[in-house]
Point group: C2
Chain length 184, copies 2
């Protein structure tokens, strides 16, 4: 299947966390032209921090899209000049104060929504974290830390308590690779 | 943790597949006021169609956000007056022509992105589908069907070929419940 041909871009609309842009494209099958919205965003990271005694460090925070408090893993935008790994460590340290001398493991790279978002999300796993720093929030960020045993995560997912799409992606990669680490 | 207080809304910006709206909110901790963007969208559905011989019906299509062709499961918007289940069956039939007399099973409900999207996605599983209809596309939709044995999906995920966040969510629910169906 062929890609569509990009014929032009409209003016960017600044929406703070990303910009929206109309793109004029041509269908390769029938040459029909249409405009589509694309949200241009920095890439994202998230990270599963896990302690030596197999507790996952979760963050509870208010989310503006759904106007509710959610239970998630740490995550955020990759800043200019940062690698995904550096961003993941930074977000974990800022949001939770948990840190480990071990290097986070890249679990997988996803597309948060290929239909209209242009970015990627890098999911990591960080073994043997422990509380080392004070939390340090971005403006407008308030985060409460909640520790859950790794065995409890499955029920939190099934019951819909953990329901953020890209948080679930990190846990999918975790489950698909779990045996590798149990034997390692 | 408390919700923020909503003080007011800005004008809606129509972006065709959703509308963007600035929301003025007050942090309950420090009374600080800020504006946040919220994308208001209809709820979404997606569905894993599986044949009697354990093939998953996947769809290949061009995606405007990433300007690439992706491998996904059928899905789309819930139309006005539809239930999530009706929308999931309709999308599967339109995009693939595959259908089953059995009723799709609700796998789970997720939040595609609680930080800025207000909607939900309902993921379904549809057993014993078979090709019954011609594909019927929306304007600007071109879909190629690709059948993969259910055992191949894990490697398609690990290798990043299937990487759409909410498609991966459907497979996470599938894996978490797999044993139930094997014994059923």
């Amino acid at each position: 299947m062929d890609n569509w041909k990009t014929l032009g871009f409209g003016k960017s609309i600044d929406l703070k966390i990303f910009s929206a842009k109309w793109v004029l494209r041509e269908n390769p099958r029938n040459r029909r032209k249409s405009e589509f919205i694309v949200l241009e965003s920095k890439d994202w990271v998230n990270i599963i921090p896990i302690t030596k005694d197999k507790k996952i460090v979760l963050v509870q925070q208010y989310r503006h899209g759904i106007d509710e408090v959610t239970l998630e893993i740490p995550g955020g935008l990759i800043d200019d000049g940062e690698t995904p790994l550096q961003a993941a460590k930074r977000e974990c340290i800022e949001e939770t104060g948990f840190y480990s001398d071990s290097e986070p493991i890249l679990l997988g790279i996803t597309r948060p929504n290929p239909a209209f978002l242009n970015n990627k999300c890098y999911s990591f796993l960080w073994f043997d974290v422990e509380k080392k720093y004070e939390q340090k929030f971005d403006t407008n960020e308030d985060v409460e830390i909640i520790l859950k045993d790794v065995s409890e995560i499955e029920n939190l997912i099934k019951s819909g308590v953990i329901n953020h799409s890209i948080v679930l992606n990190a846990f999918l990669f975790y489950y698909l690779n779990e045996k590798k680490w149990d034997n390692g």
